[in-house]
């Protein structure tokens, strides 16, 4: 992992104050100041320690199973008339990219002397990845999860419990990811000394967006090496990823941010349609605001109350977007598309039948837009397959075309 590089000064990296352009920062109440300040002052130094990098790399290799394969999807490529590669984050231990970040943060938490870990989760993948590293390190783990998500991602709730975590339902607001995050932040305010908050996406107060992005940047670091081996060139023409808060996308983009020839495509959750009133397509519906202590694009009412978002996918059901992505959107560096619930479902059924891979609902949003980009036949396209679909089986079965028939 090339953590040591100094990226200040690059247009697409965080600046010294924690901003990407006009987005980012740390809009925290004073009660959070000591915790956030401690992280801000220490994270880069810790990430750069050779012993830290060694431990991180070793766990990613032997425990997570990295590098994750870069798979040439032949039948998918034929269908969309381009060279499509899938970055197989679904094959990681625990089933998604989330574990790259939790391994990094648990090592950091240990170095900061923390003994108690808290996290928020939407799809439950980040909760499982956090409960997993806490079991590995023998630390207490409390995971906040919206009551609605507890119902729709039941297998992951069971996994967290078996791993020894306490799962606390967030019953306020929309009872989804945003509210789980509120509760985790409140817990942190009430436990300012012994607790580290493992935030699961590239959002929240500085340094989280940058820290999470750096841990996830292993994704694009590997893509470069693997593409070179397979195609003779390091850079693809396109990188596509789904965006909830934006951690898998940030990791998949990271080493290509300053390579203007690589086109970055972000896919948000359109829900039942961007203008249906049931959507989570933040760049389309949002305005500048502050959510979870970060200044970014945010879905809100004309009075500045945060809107309750909607998506079939718990991991994308978030009314904000990480500040890096707000900046990539505003500068035009990344192109933002969105996929509806139905499009995501169809993409999941399609990948399953063409390639024998059942993707997570979140990742299916990225796959759903393959037909909407005007690829040339020689274009190399990398799609970040951020997770596997085990947790979504109930939704997939319920929505199978022909319903109870069982044939896709």
């Amino acid at each position: 992992m090339k953590i040591a590089e100094n990226t200040f000064g690059s247009k697409y990296h965080v600046d010294e104050k924690g901003f990407y352009g006009r987005f980012g920062g740390a809009y925290i109440p004073e009660m959070l100041y000591p915790n956030v300040d401690e992280l801000q002052r220490n994270y880069l130094a810790i990430l750069r320690e050779p012993a830290f990098q060694e431990e991180f790399d070793q766990l990613l290799r032997d425990y997570v199973g990295r590098p994750s394969p870069l798979y040439f999807a032949k039948r998918l490529s034929e269908k969309y008339n381009a060279k499509i590669y899938l970055k197989r984050e679904d094959l990681n231990h625990t089933g998604a990219h989330k574990v790259n970040n939790t391994i990094g943060q648990i090592l950091l938490a240990k170095r900061l002397g923390k003994t108690r870990i808290i996290a928020e989760t939407g799809a439950g993948q980040h909760g499982v990845a956090t409960a997993t590293v806490c079991a590995l390190m023998g630390l207490e783990c409390v995971v906040y999860m919206g009551s609605i998500d507890i119902k729709r991602q039941a297998p992951n709730v069971a996994r967290m419990k078996m791993l020894g975590a306490t799962v606390v339902p967030a019953t306020s607001g929309s009872q989804t990811l945003k509210d789980a995050c509120n509760e985790a932040i409140r817990d942190w305010i009430n436990n300012p000394v012994d607790t580290h908050y493992i935030l699961g996406t590239a959002a929240g107060p500085h340094p989280y967006p940058d820290m999470v992005t750096r841990f996830q940047s292993v994704i694009s670091e590997e893509i470069k090496k693997q593409l070179l081996e397979k195609t003779g060139r390091e850079n693809p023409d396109y990188v596509m990823a789904c965006i909830g808060g934006g951690s898998n996308a940030a990791g998949a983009y990271y080493h290509f941010l300053d390579e203007p020839d690589v086109k970055l495509i972000a896919v948000e959750a359109g829900g039942k349609g961007v203008h249906s009133g049931h959507s989570a397509a933040t760049t389309q519906l949002g305005k500048l605001g502050i959510i979870h202590a970060s200044k970014t694009l945010l879905m809100q009412t004309e009075d500045g109350q945060i809107t309750e978002p909607y998506s079939i996918s718990a991991g994308l059901d978030y009314p904000g977007i990480g500040p890096l992505h707000a900046h990539l959107y505003e500068t035009g560096r990344a192109t933002f598309l969105n996929a509806t619930d139905d499009e995501a479902l169809q993409a999941a059924y399609e990948l399953t039948r063409l390639e024998g891979i059942i993707p997570a609902l979140e990742s299916s949003h990225a796959l759903a837009k393959l037909g909407q980009v005007a690829f040339k036949p020689d274009d190399v396209v990398v799609v970040c397959l951020s997770g596997r679909g085990d947790k979504d089986m109930e939704t997939y079965i319920r929505n199978l075309p022909g319903n109870t028939g069982g044939n896709v």
Binding site: G173, Q300, I306
Partner: protein
């Protein structure tokens, strides 16, 4: 010295009672009646909560009051309408307390101007960073004679407290323990912190908040400070009230 907060502290240095109430709670049009009763029964300062959907620093009681106020139809626009002529009846200092997002969307300058127009004296925005206030907004606040009050906690370093003291106007809001509002943390072992604050001899008066709910906790908090702020306990008293006026009278009498 035209700001009512400064006038108050010029005449009263001990036992200043600041009571928080969410605007538009329990019913939309209760804002003014609640303020009037608070003034009549002896609150020295009124802190009006601008309800926000995602109040990170608040516990369940104030969250619920905020959600209810939003459902009642409360917003900054409605609040400024309600406050249009309130100075004909209310003479105690009034602060607005809330989160940055609705204020940003309303426009900081617009917000300050409105506050000055209706007669609001100060503002508390816990998630507005000190540096950003200093570089971007301080001038606007000062131009409109509006005091911005910052928070300190038991975890805040002396160096930072000094910086906060230099930027704060009106008073400093000392949070009694690192917690969200309404947590029942023991005030007894906070005495060391209160004494430490007192020994710093800050230029601003200090009000202590979070965890004050009755006479005993108010007295404990105000031995080493200029006064205290009560929020959650007051909202609780309103929550179960059959008659607002009597509930407020009883509540204030129980603290003073």
């Amino acid at each position: 010295m035209s700001n009512r907060i400064d006038q108050l502290f010029a005449g009263k240095r001990t036992g200043v009672l600041n009571i928080y109430c969410t605007a538009g709670y329990p019913e939309l049009n209760d804002t003014l009646p609640v303020m009037k009763a608070l003034q009549q029964y002896g609150a020295d300062i009124i802190e009006l909560g601008m309800p926000f959907s995602d109040p990170l620093a608040d516990g369940p009681v104030i969250q619920d009051s905020s959600n209810r106020a939003i459902r009642n139809g409360m917003s900054l626009k409605v609040l400024f309408e309600q406050l249009k002529n309130f100075r004909e009846q209310i003479h105690v200092p009034v602060l607005l307390m809330g989160y940055l997002n609705p204020v940003l969307l309303y426009g900081i300058e617009n917000f300050c101007k409105k506050c000055a127009e209706v007669g609001v004296d100060g503002v508390i925005l816990p998630d507005l960073p000190m540096d950003e206030y200093e570089s971007e907004y301080k001038q606007v606040f000062e131009q409109y004679g509006l005091h911005l009050v910052f928070l300190v906690t038991p975890e805040t370093s002396e160096e930072r407290i000094r910086k906060i003291d230099s930027l704060s106007r009106g008073f400093i809001y000392a949070v009694s323990s690192s917690s969200t509002t309404g947590k029942d943390k023991d005030m007894g072992n906070q005495q060391v912190y209160f004494e430490r604050l007192q020994s710093l001899q800050l230029k601003n008066p200090v009000l202590i908040g979070f965890g004050i709910k009755d006479k005993a906790t108010f007295d404990a908090a105000t031995t080493h400070s200029n006064g205290g702020v009560i929020g959650t306990a007051f909202i609780r008293a309103l929550e179960n009230a059959t008659n607002l006026d009597t509930a407020i009278q009883q509540f204030v009498a129980g603290v003073k």
